[in-house]
Subunit: 220 residues, 2 copies
DNA sequence: AAATATTTTTAGATTTGTCTAAATTTTATT
DNA sequence: AATAAAATTTAGACAAATCTAAAAATATTT
């Protein structure tokens, strides 16, 4: 089946929200998509008629298997293109998202497959997010947010869940990137901020906001 | 200025036609774009209002400087992507056109510039067509069609003007590609077909149709 | 459980790009 | 130069994706 750019964007938005909440509601999706509730309802009807969605009026909605597969397809393309932009075109990792938002809608399946091979079938994109394979399978790793890490334990940054330019600029400032080794020294009760030691840097303090978006795994 | 995919496609179509005829007329563009004359008129009004077009009702039209620059921008992107698809993703050269038709509308200027550098600032795409630089300058080479080449003279294929899958499959059959060395042995008056010798192949006969689309330059 | 607030949907408009059919203008032919 | 033919434009319609404002359904509060 073939979808418009707009349909694909809605599908992605629903996928994103239903991972947190199960059932998604209209206003939440309108906020996510930066649009109005009425526009969402219009699109829901279309996606339901295309059999991508479980949807009863006023009851909430979620993607069915076909919908999820479509979402994973688009996410796969997005993350492969991001990988290409950073690894080969030498873009900074905080600049690639909007470009990948366009590239992800290029339709050729053969293009995606060849791009995947060209890139060496990577498992994670430059933000540390897993890249689904062509069947929609997602690699998993054990990770937890910096906020939940025990004190004094050396961990390695594996992904960053907030990919806004603002957030990623902040991480650059702290010299934090994927693969960076970090130890949490102290947690401040007052505002949940953390004193951390980034390898080769002096200790510094990060806000709880930052900490909860930085995911890490054990340093082996 | 920013343009829609549809606007960019019309601009490309006009550019293509005006290189042959100077002034373009509505029906010709409708044929080129696979659409109806009425749709063309609608778009002409829009392009005129965006100051890309010299256009008087019923009198024909052509791109002004801004329009030409826009066309060259899109053509540049198209040919750079084609180069990427063939050189790095190992696509056959007769499969890349429809994919580049999509990629050429990705808007990021930085993307194009980085892609250009990544590819080594190529001057010609996989069909031998010149790639405009970022200022819209097009490299030129002396070439003539195989139909006009003197007999017994060794020449090298530099470009192929008809890029249909049908044409390119035919060239594959003859083992003709960019850089292939050819000598014309004989011209048949009856139908204008040519007996040619492709380097490392036995002599064969190609139709006038094929010959006029294959461009060559002197083999040095 | 009635009143109020919130959420969601519908109704009707708007924009972009397209179309058909009719009207208009230009070109060609007798 | 009048008429026929061809090319072009206009008028009006439609689909996709969006919007605002109003109506309907659901949820919350007193």
């Amino acid at each position: 089946m073939n979808f418009t750019t707009s349909e694909e964007n809605y599908i992605k938005g629903i996928f994103h929200l239903q991972q947190e909440t199960g059932l998604v509601n209209t206003n939440a999706l309108a906020a996510e998509m930066n649009t109005r509730a009425a526009s969402v309802t219009d699109m829901l009807k279309k996606l339901k008629s295309k059999k991508l969605l479980q949807y009863e009026k006023y009851k909430g909605f979620k993607l069915n298997e076909a919908g999820k597969k479509t979402a994973l397809d688009v996410i796969r393309k997005h993350r492969l293109w991001e990988f290409f932009l950073v690894a080969h075109l030498k873009f900074d990792w905080d600049k690639v998202h909007p470009i990948a938002e366009e590239l992800e809608h290029i339709s050729s399946e053969e293009l995606v497959q060849r791009l995947d091979n060209f890139l060496g079938n990577p498992s994670f994109d430059p933000h540390g997010d897993p890249i689904p394979d062509k069947h929609g399978r997602i690699p998993v790793i054990n990770q937890l947010s910096l906020r939940e890490v025990p004190l004094k334990k050396a961990v390695t940054v594996s992904s960053v869940s907030n990919q806004s330019v603002q957030m990623l600029e902040m991480l650059k400032h702290y010299h934090i990137a994927l693969g960076t080794q970090i130890t949490v020294i102290k947690r401040f009760e007052f505002d949940g901020s953390l004193e951390i030691k980034v390898l080769k840097q002096s200790p510094c303090i990060i806000s709880e906001q930052v900490a909860k978006n930085v995911f890490v795994h054990d340093t082996q």
